[in-house]
């Protein structure tokens, strides 16, 4: 397309930055609130990292006495360091693998449904949990699993079984957390796969059908291979976030339940609890910095990979 000349053409080469900003002051003014907000919550927070290497005192603030790596040593010496790292990784891996599987499965199944009203109704139902807060979900879960009044325990009892004390048995909790995650997010996450499937050129299916591929074979040999770029991008993005637990979920569901904490305490909830219980900003900052650094490496690397191989999938 022919480029038409702009009224104030953007000149090549160097210009005086102040001149540029003054000339387009209203344009930059529009971005100013976001720039300021990002400065406060993104860049002004950086100097506080120093606290991780100090023995923090509220009087001296950021300029508290330097103690080197003491805070890190005391964290890594505790048994929680490994436990919370492992829990975060295990839980996120479970969510990633099964979450992706179910999201794709639901998208594939929904795509096979020709009955429009049925499709609309079921899809609306599947999306609904996504919008509900984890606090409410935690009460639903108590309503289902509670030892005294829980629906499931009442059912077990009426069938002649003994009640299960879910809230004090850690071994039930990886499956429970996984089911919750799928229940809440699979419907929503399936949207993106469904959109990708809808975008596939129908003539490919026609060609496959002419060659004798059944419906099932068309899914396996046409749909799935064509979904690989979408799956790869989303999986890479999730791997980038693998060091960050879902605080909103985990704290609402697990709360201060000490019996399931050994398997369900993730870095984020542990950071919060350390801050709340010890009131020691230096130790908390050290744990947080450990998460920030490893998290940054993972997020950055995964973003680079996405940008390199799937430029359309990268947001930036």
């Amino acid at each position: 397309m022919q480029k038409t000349g702009t009224l104030t053409p953007v000149k090549k080469g160097r210009v005086n930055p102040l001149r540029e900003i003054w000339d387009k002051k209203f344009l930059y003014l529009l971005a100013l609130p976001a720039v300021l907000y990002t400065f406060i919550y993104g860049y002004m927070t950086l100097p506080y990292i120093a606290i991780a290497f100090e023995k923090f005192n509220y009087k001296t603030g950021i300029r508290s006495p330097f103690v080197g790596l003491d805070n890190f040593t005391s964290f890594f010496k505790s048994s929680w360091a490994w436990a919370v790292t492992r829990n975060t990784l295990v839980i996120n891996f479970l969510f990633l693998i099964f979450g992706t599987f179910f999201a794709i499965l639901i998208a594939l199944l929904l795509n096979e449904i020709r009955n429009k009203p049925f499709l609309k109704l079921t899809q609306s139902a599947m999306l609904f949990p996504f919008f509900i807060s984890w606090v409410i979900v935690s009460y639903m879960l108590q309503g289902l699993l509670g030892t005294a009044n829980g629906m499931i325990n009442r059912l077990i009892e009426s069938l002649g079984g003994a009640r299960i004390n879910f809230y004090s048995t850690p071994s039930y909790w990886y499956p429970i957390l996984l089911i919750l995650n799928i229940w809440k997010n699979a419907g929503y996450n399936s949207i993106i796969y469904l959109a990708a499937i809808t975008g596939i050129d129908e003539s490919i299916y026609e060609a496959a059908a002419i060659d004798g591929a059944t419906r099932f074979k068309r899914i396996i040999y046409v749909t799935l291979p064509l979904l690989i770029p979408t799956i790869s991008v989303l999986t890479l993005m999730s791997i980038g976030r693998i060091f960050y637990g879902d605080f909103g979920m985990m704290y609402a569901i697990v709360r201060d339940n000490a019996s399931i904490m050994p398997i369900a305490e993730v870095i984020d909830t542990y950071v919060f609890r350390t801050f709340k219980n010890t009131g020691n900003p230096s130790l908390t900052m050290a744990i947080g910095l450990y998460q920030s650094i490893v998290g940054f490496i993972l997020v950055y690397t995964s973003n680079r990979i996405v940008r390199r191989y799937y430029p359309d999938g990268a947001l930036f």
């Binding site: 199944l109 096979e112 409410i136 325990n153 229940w183 002419i210 908390t284 947080g288 950055y300 947001l315």
Partner: protein, 311 residues
């Protein structure tokens, strides 16, 4: 095959007719199971909500006797009466959450639109630098302690601002959604407006803002849900119970019920509707989400698709 060839001429029609050919027995069985699975998953998504609503209207005695259930014969509105009674903190918290959500969403959307528009504007020489400036905060965060200290330092502590400003008021992700959307609008529009003598503010708010309605609807709902469902800010930054948003009140409902039952009289005091109260508060907390659900669904789906495809 020969039959099809005689009735269909073009290869295009052939393909289409093959795709919609009468299904085999195996495919019909498969289709039955597909419908069954989808139906079961959809029901599993809805049943817990039915339970919440039913239990909220159940007599406390019946809950203790029969446990949580999807049916009851002992209906009661005691929990709702208690919730809207004079000792209840729920109405106040409802107000707090509503204020934070409405004000927060409005400010957040405005900020996000401004930044997204500027980043998409070819006139902005530093747009790549600015993108990088925002992008950095998406990949690196210093964590909880600095977040807490900065919030306290700017005065977002134990007041309504603590529920509006920290974390929730601006998301670079949403800004990139706006940027990508504006990038999709032909640049010639900006130029012709400029030639006609419109100023930057006028172009942004009178020309681009209305055009951006679809993406703005999406981010309004993203922000609104973020505000409505947030309890983290309250956990960290609110100590005054009067400033508790709804989700925080719900989170601490056990202590709320204990406090309320102390103020009750006679028979009610002996057996306050604890479980039903929890569920009733959950129901009113979900209320706006249920009411707005058709919009939420429509625009969240759109947002997901805009976010997935780079403009």
């Amino acid at each position: 095959m020969s039959q099809i060839n005689t009735t269909v001429n073009t290869s295009d029609d052939l393909g289409r007719s093959i795709l919609h050919m009468r299904s085999t027995r195996g495919e019909r069985v498969g289709s039955f199971f597909i419908h069954l699975f989808v139906l079961l998953f959809a029901l599993a998504c809805l049943i817990p909500f039915v339970m919440v609503i039913v239990v909220s209207f159940t007599e406390e005695k019946a809950i203790t006797l029969n446990g949580y259930s999807l049916f009851t014969t002992h209906w009661s509105t005691a929990a709702y009466k208690m919730m809207f009674g004079k000792n209840s903190a729920v109405p106040r918290s409802y107000g707090v959450t509503t204020l934070a959500t409405v004000a927060g969403t409005f400010i957040a959307t405005l900020i996000t639109f401004g930044a997204g528009y500027t980043l998409a504007n070819k006139q902005c020489r530093y747009r790549n630098g600015l993108s990088l400036y925002f992008y950095f905060t998406m990949v690196f965060s210093a964590g909880l302690v600095p977040w807490y200290m900065v919030s306290k330092a700017i005065g977002a502590y134990d007041n309504i601002w603590a529920l509006i400003i920290p974390s929730l008021m601006f998301s670079p992700f949403n800004m990139f959604l706006v940027r990508n959307f504006v990038n999709g609008i032909p640049e010639a529009l900006n130029e012709s407006a400029r030639i006609d003598g419109a100023g930057e503010m006028r172009i942004a708010f009178q020309i681009y803002l209305p055009l951006c309605k679809p993406v703005l609807a999406t981010i309004v709902l993203f922000y609104a849900i973020g505000y409505w469902n947030n309890y983290f800010n309250a956990v960290m930054l609110i100590t005054d119970r009067k400033m508790y948003p709804l989700q925080m009140l719900l989170f601490q409902i056990q202590s709320e019920i204990t406090a309320m039952s102390k103020l009750m009289s006679g028979a009610e005091r002996a057996n306050p509707p604890k479980e039903a109260f929890k569920m009733a508060t959950s129901v009113v907390t979900m209320g706006p989400i249920i009411l707005l659900y058709p919009f939420l669904q429509k625009y969240f789906v759109k947002g997901m698709v805009i976010g997935a495809v780079k403009g």
